[in-house]
Symmetry: C2
Subunit: 354 residues, 2 copies
DNA sequence: CTGAAAGCGCTTACAG
DNA sequence: CTGAAAGCGCTTACAG
C-alpha cells in the first residue's frame, strides 16, 4: 500500500526512500547508459525495492517532455476494423516493440451523424492525438479519412506519417498506393473478356445515399468509372444496395435476378455481400458462374473458403512490413526523408465464381 | 511555412512573435479564465495570427505535465471489434467531448502467438499506456484481458477504471456486470422447457483448443456449466468447432444433423454461426425450429433481420451511458469513489428460431 | 489588463 | 561510481 496521501509517488520519492539521487533512480529505471555509469547491484536493488514498495509508476508526460519524443505510434482507421487493419496493427506492434515503441489506435466512427460529406471527416477532438504531439508517428489506414491539407500540416509540424491513399501526392509523408482503381479496371476487363455486358453492382448503402462523396463512395465511383471507360456504362437499374447486411444482399440479388433483363455478372462492394449473392442465386436455381458471375471486393478471408471460390480484388497477402518499417525509419530520422510513394498494389484474384 | 529550422515552435516563439508574454499566449490558447482576465481583441488577434503563421501546435506533454491530467481516455478491447464495442467507443467519444476529453483505443491482438493461457494476456508494451499515466481513465471492454492484480494496481496508482467483467470484485474500480452466466442459464432452461434434451454446441475454435482457458473459453464453459446444472450434461459428440467461419459452421452443422443421434437444439457461440447453422439445416430439408432449434449468443444486429428471427442472449440495447458517465465521474473525483458493481445484464431474447 | 516566476516529473551532460 | 543543476513546454497564482 502506498502511503502518500493523494499524490502519486515520483522518482524523487523513490530516491528519498532509497537514499540516492533522482539521477540514479532515472538511470536505473530507464536502463540507459548502464555501460558508461554502472550502478552497484546493491544500489540497484535498493532502488527497485523502493519502486516496488511505493508502487511507483513512471510518468509518461515528464519523460516525453524531456526526451522530446513519446515512443508511441498510432494507427488511424474507420470502424469497424477488418482483417487487414488488424494485421497492420499487429505488425506495427511487433515491429515497434523492437525499438521500444507502443501502439495505440484511433478508430474513427463508422456512421457519422448527419450530413454525409462533411461528417465523414473526423471531429477535431479525435485529431487532437495527431495534432498535439501525443504520438511520434501514425499510419493512416484510409487516407481519405483526413483532409489532404491537414495531412500536410501534420507532416510539416513534425509528425512522422505514412498514409494509405490511392490518389495523393507524397508531401513530407509517404503514400502507400493500393492502386485500387487499376485492380477494379482489371476486374471489369476480366468480366468483359468473359463476354459479360450486363454487369450489376451491389453497393454499400452509404454509396447510394451519397454517391458524390469521394470518401464514402470510393468503390462505387471507381467501378462506375472503369465500366464507363470500357464503353459499358453502369445501368442504374442494375445498381442495388445491401452489400453491408447479409439478408439484404440476399434479397436484393434475388430481386435483380427476377427482373426483366437480369445482369449476367455482379460486382459486390464487399466480399461478404458477394458470398450472400452466391447463396441467393443458388437458391433461385441459378448457377454461379454459369448464369451469374459474381465478384467481390477486398479479398477477405472468407472468399477462398467457399464454393465456388470467390473472384475478388484486394491485397494478395497481408504483409505491411515495408510501410511499417518506413514509419519507424521516419521516426528515427525526422525531417530527413522526403515523401515516397510505396506501391502495395491490389490485384485481381480470379477464382471460380466468374 | 514555419521558419524555425528543425525545432517545433513553442508558446515562447508565439509570444515573441506577437510581442506578449507566454502567460498571455497560454490564456488565449487554453481558453480558461477568460472571465477573470479578459484579453483585448487586438492582443488576441495578434496572438492567433502568430500561431497561424508559425504553424504552432500545442505540446501535449507540457500541458499534461503541468495540469497533472491528460484529458485522454482509452477503450481496451480484443480485436476484432464488434458492434457493441463500437457503440461503447462512440459513446465514450461523445460523452467525453462534453468535458474536453478525447478517446484512444487499445486493441489487443486477437490470436496470441503460442501458449494460449499466458499469451492471451497482453504484452507489457501494450499496457504501458495504462501504467504510465498516458491516459486519465480507461474502460476495459473485456476484463479478462488483464490480470485482476494488474487491474487493482492500476486503480491504486490513480487510473480511473471501469471494467466489464462477470466475476470480479470492484476494488478501486467499477465493475460492469453483464451477468452472462445467468442469461445462458436462462437460455438452457428455455430449451429444456421446449422439451429438448439433446442440445449441441457450435464452438469458437479456440474454445476447443484450450477449453480450460477462462479467458478464451468463457462461453463454452458457461454453457457447459448451465447444462450440467440442469442435469443434462453436454454430450462431447454434440460439440463441434466452426462458429467463427461461415462455411465451417455450415459444414459442421450438417455433419451433426447427419450423425446417428442428431441434436434437437443447437447453441452457437456466435450469432453469425447460428445463422449459418440455420441455412445449413434448411438446405438439408430440416425445419427450424421444428427439427432443430437454433440459438445464438451475442445479440448482434443480424439476428433480427433474418427469417426465422434468431433467438439469442445478449444486451437488449446498446446503451452504455451509465458506465461511461461513471468513468468521467471517477476522473472528475479521483480517489473519492469506492468501487461499485454496475448491472448491465445480458438477457434472453426469444425469437422464432427456438 | 499583462508579465515574471515557479514548478509539474523526468533526463542527461557535467562536475566531482 | 554518484549527485547537483538545468531545462523540456506548458499553466497559473500572484504581483503590478
Amino acid at each position: 500500500m502506498p502511503e502518500n496521501a493523494g499524490r502519486a509517488p515520483t522518482q524523487r520519492d523513490v530516491a528519498a526512500a532509497a537514499g540516492v539521487s533522482t539521477a540514479t533512480v532515472s538511470y536505473i529505471l530507464s536502463g540507459r547508459r548502464d555501460r558508461a555509469t554502472p550502478v552497484t547491484p546493491e544500489t540497484r536493488d535498493r532502488v527497485l525495492r523502493a519502486v516496488e514498495q511505493l508502487g511507483y509508476r513512471l510518468n509518461h508526460s515528464g519523460r516525453s517532455l524531456r526526451r522530446r519524443r513519446t515512443e508511441l505510434v498510432c494507427v488511424v482507421y474507420r470502424m469497424p476494423d477488418n482483417p487487414w487493419v488488424e494485421r497492420l496493427a499487429e505488425q506495427v506492434q511487433t515491429i515497434g516493440a523492437t525499438s521500444g515503441y507502443s501502439m495505440i489506435a484511433l478508430p474513427l466512427p463508422s456512421s457519422p451523424p448527419t450530413e454525409p460529406a462533411a461528417a465523414s471527416r473526423p471531429q477535431p477532438s479525435a485529431l487532437r492525438v495527431l495534432r498535439e504531439r501525443y504520438v511520434d508517428g501514425a499510419i493512416v489506414a484510409n487516407g481519405t479519412l483526413i483532409e489532404p491539407d491537414e495531412l500536410r500540416r501534420l507532416a510539416a509540424s513534425g509528425l512522422s506519417l505514412v498514409v494509405f491513399h490511392d490518389a495523393l501526392e507524397p508531401a513530407g509523408f509517404d503514400v502507400v498506393d493500393l492502386a485500387q482503381r487499376a485492380a477494379l479496371t482489371d476486374l471489369v476487363r476480366h468480366l468483359l473478356g468473359r463476354g459479360h455486358t450486363r454487369i450489376g453492382y451491389l453497393a454499400h448503402d452509404v454509396e447510394l445515399a451519397a454517391p458524390d462523396d469521394e470518401v464514402q463512395s470510393l468503390k462505387y465511383r471507381m467501378v462506375a468509372a472503369a465500366l464507363a471507360a470500357a464503353g459499358v456504362p453502369l445501368d442504374p437499374r442494375l445498381v442495388v444496395p445491401g452489400a453491408d447486411v447479409r439478408e439484404r444482399a440476399y434479397v436484393e440479388t434475388q430481386r435483380l435476378l427476377r427482373a426483366d433483363r437480369p445482369p449476367t455478372a455482379l460486382i459486390s462492394a464487399s466480399d461478404r455481400g458477394a458470398i450472400d449473392a452466391i447463396w441467393a442465386a443458388r437458391d433461385l436455381g441459378a448457377s454461379v458462374p454459369g448464369d451469374l458471375a459474381i465478384a467481390g471486393i477486398g479479398n477477405g478471408t472468407e472468399g477462398s473458403a467457399i464454393r465456388p471460390a470467390l473472384t475478388t480484388v484486394g491485397l494478395p497477402k497481408l504483409d505491411f512490413t515495408v510501410p511499417v518499417t518506413r514509419l519507424f525509419e521516419r521516426i528515427a530520422a525526422p525531417n530527413e526523408l522526403p515523401g515516397d510513394r510505396i506501391p502495395q498494389p491490389w490485384q485481381l484474384i480470379v477464382r471460380e465464381s466468374t
